[in-house]
């Protein structure tokens, strides 16, 4: 009975706390959105309106038409697609293996993959930049994508592994008994069933690459990705450029969350076991 009276169990207080935290998260997103959709001159207004007075895409189009921005958007998309293709091509077979096979060294491999999380991967950009200059990969999309793949790969492996674990092994065995080869059973049964999970993993990788700033800024010079361009130019940029840019890199993140809602805990809830 006494537990009913503790401060936290009181329902209404719980709602208030829940709401306050939600506001803390949502209000800044709302503010950057109305800033980005204000006319360009209104961005400098002070005091700032908390409700938009006029809706305009002027600020956003100013941003997109600024020197090099479209090229950087294109670069970001290319890097992100390369990264997701590389991660899936290299990571999914490993994830499948962890999910399906019993073999000597499995635990060590798994532990090695898990322990990569204890390393600051982004700073690898510095030694890699030195190497990439030698390999002629500096300032290229593939160079950035290689590093982003190194960042994404451990997660891809663990996530695809749990996706394949959720597709029962007996389904593939049934297909084999009914006339499929090993690969045929994978293609006809495991792959279609794993597809939504693999897509979630791919979207995750895309956003990871789209968001990454430090390594992209180190590895590129003339062809920066969008975040790399922003972080370098931010100091010298007017407010409309900043706000529109911030909003622009924010949008894919929010769309992404809509897509992977169901896989939230598969993607980030992986336990160190």
């Amino acid at each position: 009975m006494s537990s009913k009276r503790t401060w936290f169990s009181s329902r209404s207080l719980l709602y208030v706390v829940a709401l306050l935290i939600a506001l803390y998260i949502l209000v800044p997103i709302y503010l950057i959105t109305i800033s980005a959709f204000s006319p360009r001159n209104a961005v400098f207004d002070y005091p700032k309106p908390f409700f938009p007075k006029a809706f305009s895409v002027e600020t956003l189009s100013f941003f997109l038409n600024s020197f090099g921005v479209l090229e950087s958007v294109q670069m970001s998309i290319i890097v992100a697609i390369l990264t997701l293709v590389l991660s899936l091509l290299i990571g999914a077979p490993a994830g499948y293996t962890l999910a399906r096979y019993v073999f000597v060294g499995k635990d060590s491999y798994r532990l090695a993959i898990l322990s990569t999380r204890a390393f600051p991967i982004v700073i690898l950009a510095i030694p890699l930049a030195v190497t990439f200059i030698r390999w002629d990969l500096d300032d290229t999309a593939i160079g950035v994508a290689l590093l982003h793949t190194a960042m994404a790969l451990p997660t891809t492996i663990l996530v695809t592994s749990s996706v394949f674990v959720s597709v029962s092994k007996e389904l593939e065995e049934a297909a084999m008994v009914l006339g499929c080869s090993r690969f045929g059973a994978f293609r006809r049964v495991a792959l279609p069933l794993a597809l939504p999970g693999l897509a979630a993993s791919a979207i995750f990788t895309f956003v990871l690459s789209w968001n990454e700033v430090f390594a992209a800024a180190i590895l590129t010079l003339q062809n920066p990705t969008l975040p790399a361009r922003l972080v370098v130019q931010l100091n010298q940029s007017p407010l409309p450029f900043k706000f529109a840019g911030g909003f622009f890199i924010l949008v894919p993140a929010i769309v992404f969350m809509l897509f992977v809602r169901r896989y939230l805990f598969t993607l980030w809830g992986v336990k160190l076991k």
Partner: protein
């Protein structure tokens, strides 16, 4: 026939080969290169010159101090907030599905975007000054991001807590969902109140999740970069920013690598400390 048997046994290794090669090439090797760039001169001989150059720079100790201040303020705040959020959404509140979505939203937001979002709040002609003026607390805008004050540090803390609490939240919720309800129910039957159940049942069983979240968050905190650039224009020194400047502005890969190596070593020490101090009997049993 024997060849066929062998081929089948080799299958897992063949499938793991690409990822292993890739991680050796683009993970293990650069890790090693970061260390060697930091301690070798151009002729490949051992030297402390780069490290001395790093430590003798005025920004170095500032960067260390600021990075650690951020670390020890942000991480506890994040864990308390994330735990409250996780307990809220698992308490069976109506609309908790939507709450989970909102609370997890920042997980996909980049540190740069977060920095810009909060810049809009803290900048001189920003929303915070507007609000405080409207409320009559201020009569003219206050320059929050003035590097002479502690406000830039506070702004970074608020932005980082805003952005990166959700990852801790998701890990904790996943952990909470993995705890069978029966344990809490049993504790309640035997007379434990809400607070006791939290401390004696829930939190101990969450230990593996907390460990993972702590490691992840601390490693990321050592790399804090874009939020600082966006909010302070790079006037607040932190380790990753210094590495970036030595590479990008001063074109000195060796000192930049020394910073990278330093972040690497800090990260590894912290991971080992967490794994040792938070080791739970269950994880020991399951290896």
């Amino acid at each position: 026939m024997i060849a066929k048997l062998r081929a089948q046994n080799l299958e897992p290794y063949l499938l793991l080969l690409p990822s292993t090669i890739f991680l050796l090439l683009f993970f293990a090797w650069p890790m090693f290169r970061a260390l060697s760039l930091a301690i070798l001169n151009d002729e490949g001989q051992f030297t402390l010159a780069h490290i001395q150059r790093m430590t003798s720079d005025v920004a170095f100790w500032d960067a260390i101090r600021n990075t650690f201040i951020l670390l020890i303020t942000i991480i506890p705040l994040q864990f308390i907030l994330a735990l409250i959020m996780a307990l809220i959404v698992t308490s069976g509140l109506r609309g908790s599905g939507l709450l989970i979505y909102f609370y997890a939203l920042p997980i996909a937001i980049s540190d740069l975007a977060a920095g810009i979002v909060w810049f809009a709040v803290f900048t001189e002609r920003g929303y915070l000054n507007t609000l405080l003026t409207n409320l009559g607390i201020l009569d003219k805008p206050f320059i929050f991001l003035n590097i002479q004050t502690s406000w830039p540090l506070i702004a970074v803390i608020i932005a980082e807590v805003w952005r990166a609490t959700s990852i801790v939240f998701v890990i904790l919720v996943a952990g909470l969902q993995g705890i069978p309800k029966e344990y809490n129910e049993a504790a309640e039957i035997f007379g434990a109140n809400w607070y006791t159940r939290l401390w004696r049942v829930t939190l101990p069983m969450l230990r593996p999740s907390i460990q993972v979240a702590l490691i992840l968050r601390t490693i990321l905190a050592f790399q804090v970069f874009a939020v600082v650039v966006a909010l302070t224009g790079g006037n607040l020194r932190v380790l990753a920013l210094e590495a970036f400047r030595w590479y990008g502005d001063f074109r000195n890969a060796n000192v930049a690598a020394a910073y990278a190596a330093l972040i690497l070593i800090f990260s590894m020490i912290v991971s080992v400390v967490y794994l040792r101090t938070l080791r739970s009997p269950e994880t020991e049993l399951t290896g």
